[in-house]
């Protein structure tokens, strides 16, 4: 086992444990904090794949900005664990079955995808995650989707400003 393998298993275990804790924490603030740790673990995986730009943007945008807003909302709403309405057992059971089926389906689909069958993950090599190749790809091959998504962001921003002005 090489260092990369060890790091991969450590990060994966870290991600899965944190993600489980997001679900089973009674306190919603704790859930958010565990979710931040999940993002860190995923960023660690990106770094193993030599996608440093992606890793750091994941931390800045998700762990740094979006989760702060999550914390904001939860802290201001002051959610108490006793006051939260408990769902009925039947609803919980249905959720578990539906979620489990979705997970099985997704794993099956990913396992059968031709594009990744018999291929190996490029650890520590490959340069698409670095900033120069990524910028080139975004502004040449994928320029139209990129511009369309920026228009989408702009419209979301305008919408937020209009709602805020009401």
């Amino acid at each position: 086992m090489s260092t990369v393998d060890i790091l991969f298993y450590l990060l994966s275990a870290f991600a899965i444990v944190s993600a489980t804790m997001v679900l089973i924490s009674k306190n919603s603030i704790h859930s958010v904090l565990w979710l931040i740790l999940v993002f860190f673990a995923i960023s660690g995986h990106y770094i193993l794949l030599n996608a440093q730009f992606l890793a750091i943007v994941n931390i800045i945008v998700y762990a740094g900005a979006i989760m702060v807003l999550f914390l904001f909302v939860i802290m201001l709403m002051n959610i108490k664990k006793d006051a939260e309405p408990q769902k009925q057992l039947l609803v919980k059971l249905t959720g578990v079955i539906a979620g489990g089926s979705l997970l099985t389906l997704l794993i099956a689909v990913v396992k059968q995808t031709i594009q990744i069958q018999g291929k190996q993950v490029l650890l520590k090599e490959g340069s698409i995650g670095l900033i120069h190749p990524l910028g080139k790809a975004l502004f040449s091959d994928y320029v139209i989707p990129f511009e369309i998504s920026s228009v989408l962001f702009l419209s979301a921003m305008v919408g937020a400003v209009i709602i805020g002005k009401k």
């Binding site: 090489s2 904090l33 750091i56 931390i59 800045i60 740094g64 702060v68 914390l71 900033i131």
Partner: protein, 347 residues
């Protein structure tokens, strides 16, 4: 054993470097608190701390001992783990920034070429941003875990202020990155060492915006709204006592040192001594001169921070938000457009 097939010399070298940088910043931060009180005293025409040791030089040690010896109080209604985690997180985040700052040019020791930088990663400046955005969690978690409404209000203020000014900071920085075409701090500094001008010449407006945003990110006056004691008693660290309070206060000073180092590296040539050709002296001596130059630049920036703190009164909260969103972000966008147009005209 393939697991242990590292370059152990590199590991030891980096560990020593990390220890020197971390303890060095802690030491400088200790004396920055002393410097702050002396600068305040000079600006207000009074002697300042002068009892502990010659010229009051032992004052920071006395303060440190006092903070450690004080009684540790964790409020019964507080969330214990998060209450302890808060100051630790604030301290960690402020110290982590030092990993990408180039402190000097390479030195040669025992036949090895040692870079005076902990990690030269090709996304250096984005790493700084990521760490800065982590720093706000220390304040938010501490404020919330105290279970005190003043602390909570203050931490929410701190978070919204940090997010608002991070945008202006990022936009000011993008204009600089367009001219340097690199995100690595080492490359940016080396361009300035080899080129004829520092980046401040190309980006005066960008620097001004970056500096104002840095003041806000460090919670320094006139942006110290999270600590507005006339509205919020004491701020997000109201319930903290002993060394936990000390950590919060200390983290602020370390943030100040790190942002000074970043500004010196990005806009003022980093370890570049002006009007001096480094290639005329031995590389080790040149590196030492470089480290000294960077430290002097950092001290000058810290003095500027203090000078502003003891001169300008605090903003009102709506003024702070107006300045951030309605003045700095449009100016940063304008700066971005001008820079883009000039680059296009030159190419």
């Amino acid at each position: 054993m393939t697991i242990l097939a590292f370059d152990w010399g590199l590991v030891i070298e980096k560990l020593i470097l990390i220890a020197v940088v971390v303890f060095g910043s802690l030491g400088i931060a200790l004396y920055t608190t002393f410097g702050e009180r002396k600068v305040a005293a000079i600006l207000q025409d009074r002697p300042g701390p002068n009892r502990a040791g010659p010229f009051g030089l032992l004052q920071p040690l006395a303060d440190g001992i006092k903070l450690i010896m004080k009684e540790e109080i964790i409020p019964t209604a507080a969330n214990k783990w998060l209450f302890i985690l808060g100051p630790g997180l604030a301290m960690t985040a402020s110290l982590m920034t030092c990993a990408v700052i180039p402190w000097g040019s390479d030195i040669e020791l025992f036949g090895r070429k040692i870079a005076l930088q902990i990690a030269d990663i090709n996304i250096g400046i984005l790493y700084v941003f990521a760490v800065v955005s982590m720093g706000v969690y220390g304040i938010m978690i501490g404020g919330w875990a105290s279970n005190n409404k003043f602390s909570l209000m203050s931490s929410l203020r701190a978070a919204s202020q940090a997010i608002s000014y991070e945008l202006a900071m990022g936009l000011a920085l993008i204009a600089l990155l367009m001219t340097t075409e690199s995100l690595s701090l080492k490359t940016i500094v080396q361009q300035q060492v080899q080129g004829s001008w520092w980046n401040i010449v190309y980006q005066p407006l960008g620097f001004l915006l970056f500096f104002i945003a840095a003041l806000a990110e460090c919670n320094r006056t006139p942006f110290d709204l999270p600590e507005a004691e006339n509205e919020l008693n004491f701020g997000y660290h109201q319930e903290y006592s002993s060394m936990k309070l000390g950590f919060y206060l200390f983290a602020e000073y370390i943030n100040m040192i790190m942002s000074s180092a970043i500004m010196a590296s990005m806009y003022f040539g980093g370890y570049d001594l002006p009007f001096f050709d480094e290639s005329t002296v031995a590389p080790n001596i040149a590196a030492m001169i470089g480290v000294g130059t960077l430290l002097i630049k950092i001290v000058l920036f810290i003095f500027l921070f203090m000078w502003i703190r003891w001169t300008i009164p605090r903003f009102r909260y709506d003024q702070l938000m107006n300045l951030g969103w309605k003045t700095m972000i449009p100016l940063a966008l304008f700066n971005l457009l001008i820079t883009g147009a000039l680059i296009l005209a030159n190419s």
